[in-house]
Structures are given as C-alpha cells and as structure tokens.
C-alpha cells in the first residue's frame, strides 16, 4: 500500500519547521507533521490521511533526549519509546513512565515511535497519555507566536484531539520527579503487541505502614485519559494492606465513560478497571 503523493521537507530547526507549517498553511496545503511515523504512516498508507505536504521533525537536533532540571525531568518530544523505557534518569525518577513505555507496541515500533507523537496522536487506547496525566506533566508547545505551556489536565481534549493546534509543534514534556514512589502500569490485552483494552497507571508513596499519597491514570476508559480521583482519595492514608487497596479500587470506574467495541463493552471495561486498578496498586506498593 502506497500513500498518496506529497511534498516532503526535513527542517533542521524548530523555527524552520514552524515557518514551513505556516507557509504550507497559507498556500492552502494540507500539511502534516511527521515524528516517528508509527501512527501517521499506517493511516497514510490506508489513505485515511492524504496530506499534500509532510514536515519531518526527524532531523531537528535538540528535540530528543532527557535532561535533569532539579525538581523535574524534561523529555524531548522526539525521544523514542525505547529510550523512555530504558533511560536511567527516567527509571529512577519517573518509573511509571518507563514501565508504560515498555508496554507500547513491539520493539521495532518502540525504536521509531516517539513520546511526543504518542501524546499528540492521543489515541484513547494509547498507553502514554494516562501516566502523563497522573504525573501532572507540563507540555511545551511551539507556535507562530512563540512557546506556551499546557498542563496535562488541559492537553487531552477529546478523541484524538489535544491542545496542539495546526501550525504548532509539541517540543518537550516537563514531568515533576516522583523519586521513591512505587509505580506500575497494568495493561490488559488479549494478544501481545496490542493496544490497551484498559490500562491503569498507578503510583503510590508509602510511609511506614500506610499509603501517604496515590495517583492513578486510566487508559481507554473515556475519549481522553482520566484521573481515578475517587480511588486516589480512598487510598490516601489507607493501611498498606491488600484489603484496604481492594476496597479503594472498587471506585476505579467512577466518573468514567468507556466505549463499547469489539474488544469489550462498557460494562466489561468498568469491571476491568476495578480489577486492574487493584493489581496495579498492589504492584506499585510492592505487595
């Protein structure tokens, strides 16, 4: 399967890329940004997308990599999934992110697909948005009028829709450190290398025999990732026991609006959310 014909540019700076996007837009071109291509190229091959112009971010230096800013880590949008899954700074300070990235697709797709691409693509079944929401990350977007920062809570706006507008580029993601927190990403699929039917991103901070704080993100329980606020509240101050965790996780489906599809109906997904939340929190707490 071959995509429709398109013009191609590979700028080497963000400014050049923004200029190309603006020029293409005013020329009436249907322009698309290309990152790892692991979602865009498949849809172009199926001709579900047929941009007349593609701007490839792959040759811009400085959009990939992880830097330590003291209280937070900054991760370039073009950092591939396999680096997010294996980077020592991420493993130490953002273990939830490393664990979620390791579950994305398969090794070849993780070598090409990027962290930023997965966030802008915003597939409800994608594994990276829920951890980013749970960790309260800040997303930095470059556009014709300079840069703006958007909280994860405002970034994911709907089915495949984010705060990134036409002519803009997501450049980096700033994530506060969660050093010392326990973390786990529990993903439910029927076959390997599949998208999440439901996924749970869980982080807990344990103090003595109690759970001091918890953060949970839900994958594929609505058109956007969600925080499991009711579970977080029930876990805060709860005893570090399997019973207390199980009781708290009964709230996991509250406020969710899961879709019904071939992989399962909404009721099944609500049930999965409770079961998987319990597994995720138990694993995060080391029980």
């Amino acid at each position: 399967m071959i995509p429709s014909a398109f013009d191609y540019a590979a700028p080497t700076t963000v400014e050049e890329a923004l200029g190309l996007l603006a020029a293409a837009d005013s020329a009436g071109d249907d322009v698309k940004v290309l990152a790892g291509g692991q979602s865009l190229l498949p849809v172009m091959k199926l001709r579900m997308a047929d941009p007349s112009m593609v701007v490839d971010l792959g040759r811009i230096t400085g959009l990939s990599g992880v830097t330590d800013d003291g209280d937070s880590l900054t991760i370039g949008a073009m950092t591939p999934h396999h680096v997010v899954a294996s980077d020592p700074l991420i493993a130490r300070h953002l273990p939830l992110l490393a664990k979620a990235a390791a579950t994305v697709a398969d090794p070849q797709v993780r070598h090409r697909g990027t962290f930023g691409g997965a966030l802008v693509h915003a597939d409800p079944a994608g594994d990276m948005p829920a951890p980013v929401l749970a960790m309260g990350a800040t997303l930095v977007i470059a556009g014709p009028n300079g840069e703006r920062s958007v909280d994860a809570a405002d970034f994911f706006q709907g089915y495949f829709t984010t705060a990134v507008r036409e002519g803009e580029i997501l450049t980096r993601i700033r994530v506060p450190k969660f050093t010392g927190w326990g973390a786990h990403y529990e993903k439910f699929t029927r076959v390997s290398q599949q998208w999440s039917i439901v996924g749970i991103a869980a982080m807990v901070r344990v103090e003595g025999g109690t759970i001091a704080e918890a953060r949970l993100g839900l994958t594929n329980m609505a058109s956007t990732p969600l925080r499991a606020t009711a579970v977080e509240q029930a876990l805060a101050g709860a005893a570090l026991t399997a019973e207390a965790i199980a009781a708290a996780c009964l709230h996991a489906a509250e406020g969710t609006e899961p879709a019904s599809d071939l992989n399962g109906d909404a009721e099944y997904r609500r049930h999965l959310a409770q079961v998987l939340a319990k597994r995720a929190v138990l694993a995060a707490a080391g029980l």
Binding site: M1, A5, A10, A105, D106, P107, R112
Partner: protein, 176 residues
Amino acid sequence: MASSKTITVEVDDVSYTDDVEPRLLLVQYLRERLGKTGTLIGCDTTNCGACTVHLDGVSVKSCTMLAVQADGHKVTTIEGMATDGLLAPLQEAFHQCHALQCGFCTPGMIMQSASLLTENPHPNEQEIRDGLEGNLCRCTGYQNIVAAVKSVADGTVYGDSGVSTTVDDAETAGVS
C-alpha cells in the same frame, strides 16, 4: 506534482544515491530499486515484522518508514548479515535448530533477534519471546525460533562439529 528527493543511503555496506518520490517506502526502495528482495513484505500494516531491517543498528519495520527518512543513514538487511561467505551465528543457529518451515518470516526474525541480542546479549526465554512480539510466524509455533536465539545467546550455536556453514551450503536461513 510532488517533487522527488535525492537520498544517499548506505545499505549492507554499499553507498547508494538515488532520486526517490517522498512517498516511496523504505521496503520498496530496498526491494524494487536495489533488488534486495531478501527483505519481505508480509502484512504491510506494521504487524508481522517480515520487513524488519536495521537502521543505524536498531530494528525497524521498513514498511513503516519512508526511504527519504533513511537519507544519510546506514541500513542493514538480511543480505548484509553473512560475512565472507559465512553465515552469521544467528543464521547458522536458525539453520541448525530448524527454526523455519516456509521461511517467509525468517529474514525479519533474524534481524529482530540480532537487534534484541545487541540490546540484551543474554536474554532468558521470556525475554526472547517478548523481544520477538512484533514478528509473526505462521508455521513453526515459535519454539525452535526461541531455541535458535537462545543457542546464540548461550554460545552453543556451532553444535558438536564446531564447523560453521557457508552460504552455499545453506539455501535456508533467509539468505537466498
């Protein structure tokens, strides 16, 4: 009309410069322009891994990459794995362990296994299975594929004789 681009790519240690349409997929460039038909197209939808090659040493699915994205990079295909007429250890191991039946998945399996062993030289069985999750085989049931990769990781690939096979000996292991 979309304009073509000039790319220079090193494939299996030979440098090529060509004009390509931006929409040309890397796998088509390899097969149709360079005649490197050792790299196969199975699903054409990023699922089966038959088209796996190395880009600067790491595995990618060449049906899900544009040839223009490979400009300035180094690509290794199954055809670049043997050296001086001798099969690479993984090719030898697939041959010895009977890790193929129809052989259609084999070039991709070997390229992904090589990438896995670079990242993790001593994987256990589960790590091998996870490392090959993006490669489908419709024939073998995977058991002998896993055994072949394990034998390379364990250094037992040359078996009893200690003699390795030449490319001419083996019409198998995805080299033809």
